[in-house]
Symmetry: C2
Subunit: 313 residues, 2 copies
């Protein structure tokens, strides 16, 4: 039994992780400012005597430091996870990702907590042309403020490992799908089709190729890989051995909804400035350590859609 | 003639750059908070009608933005450049390097200035074992808060290039030596030997291997490579095609001073926690673009020593 401190624990991935940690018999403190988290995601968790919710901001360093006291391990999942709108407010990724992570690391150091699990992203590979992209890809060139901020977080965590004897698990996620999904292309398309089932705008040319991972597979990976690795710094790509195009996903979604909308493409190979036209990660390293995704991208898209339908119903 | 805005222009490399920019007929504004800069380094510059000094802090965003108005290009050299003491104050590199760089980029964006020259470091290659290290080395693992912060700066600059159509020159320096040198191993050894010419403590085992570049060679490189490259993002290692050990450098220094101190090694292959035992950069890319260092490491060490002697005399 560990005492787990989960930042962003009221979010999509965070709340699913919290449920699984509680099922596994751990004590869990969720620290969340509910800027994008949802208290209803913690309904099940709240029924456990091992659960505690603290509403707080990660930039409120003193409050965070006190809240974290006596924890054994920190799962730092809180982040601005919106890649697309970084350019509208260029300070947001710096503040909510880089500076927040520094605050979390300092609170850990002051509390003598030395184990951190961090949700990074395939976006750190930036302008790479190497697909599927391995963890030891060549030196990255960033294309988004989001990717830049997550790379900055990784660097801070690694420097704390070297300087203060921390141990870290850095997971570079593809996009995650599944229950409690709150933003991303499946949401966007579903809402657009609710508004107008006959016509839908598609950002870019529909050929952007991305990989996706089902949230329970993601949490399986976090559990399995933190338990089966012992290096000071453990870095893993998390994804499936596959990718799909935007058009593939539109096909699955519209078929599931029984719709045949006319598609209006905005054109170009990017959905927006800074969009990586391809995100497809090499997951051989995680597989060598004994984890492999069970749910296909198509099934993950359908599960997400079913969740969104239920939420509306 | 360009209107050049130089952050950290009262520092070691900055003030040497300023003198050369003025000689070359450019207008120069130096923005410096004199936390580590020296006003006497700008004595020559101050005699030019094309020179203006603004005392200000880069974290004072409004003041910075107004100061930068009407500039054509920003040379962002201001930084906490002390790698060794990062662990004593883990917020310093984040604030003085990462957050400051974000402030500089935002001020540029608001003023519609799109060209930035940035002084990065070979420390961004962190835990690499690939020597000499090329610009496209494998994905880095950071070992110091300094390296982590400079990598974060690079990422921010690259994201601004992609998102706001900036053009950047990122120079990854080895350690720089020469006139106006203010900190580093030559200073340390010189001062220790002034205090006690008979005995000297050496951090580590004396086998740490580092590369060094003479400051005027560094500035030649900045001039040559900014003029002869046109990519959106231009990244170059700057150094010589050579390295030396700490013991090599001690030999040159003690011979020059006519001393034969007893050396007391603290031991271990690092000088301090986070010290990279080897920094040796591959400079073929810069050489392919027509620049090559003229001064050897040994001559750069001796020039630095002569400068320090004159400063004391």
């Amino acid at each position: 039994m560990s005492r787990c401190f989960v930042t962003g624990g009221a979010g999509f991935v965070g709340s699913n992780l919290v449920d699984r940690l509680l099922e596994d018999g751990h004590k869990v403190i969720v620290y969340d400012n509910f800027s994008t988290g949802h208290e209803e995601f913690l309904m099940k968790a709240k029924s456990s005597p091992n659960f505690k919710l603290i509403k707080g901001d990660l930039l409120d360093y003193g409050y965070l430091r006190d809240a974290m006291k006596n924890s054994d391990i920190v799962f730092h999942l809180a982040a601005n996870a919106d890649v697309r709108f970084g350019l509208e407010d260029p300070m947001r990724d710096l503040e909510q990702n880089t500076i927040v992570t520094s605050s979390v690391l300092e609170a850990m150091r002051k509390n003598n907590i030395k184990k951190i699990v961090f949700s990074s992203t395939g976006s750190v590979y930036g302008a790479t042309n190497n697909f599927p992209t391995p963890e030891n890809d060549c030196f990255p060139i960033q294309t988004s403020l989001y990717g830049a901020s997550k790379l900055a977080c990784e660097g801070l965590i690694q420097a704390y490992c070297e300087g203060y004897d921390f141990q870290a698990w850095i997971f570079r996620f593809v996009s995650i799908l599944g229950e409690r999904y709150t933003h991303g292309h499946v949401c966007d398309f579903y809402r657009k089709l609710q508004d107008n089932p006959n016509e839908m705008e598609v950002l870019g040319n529909g050929m952007q190729s991305k990989s996706y991972l089902y949230v329970q597979d993601c949490i399986d990976a976090i559990f399995h890989l933190t338990r089966n690795t012992t290096d000071k710094i453990n870095i893993f790509n998390l994804g499936v051995e596959d990718y799909c195009t935007v058009n593939d996903s539109i096909g699955w979604i519209t078929k599931n909804l029984g719709l045949t909308p006319e598609l209006k493409y905005t054109g170009g190979n990017q959905g927006w400035i800074g969009d990586n036209p391809t995100i497809y990660l090499d997951v051989k390293k995680a597989e060598e350590f004994g984890w492999k995704a069970k749910v296909s991208i198509k099934d993950a898209v359908i599960k997400t859609l079913e969740y969104l339908k239920g939420f509306d119903g």
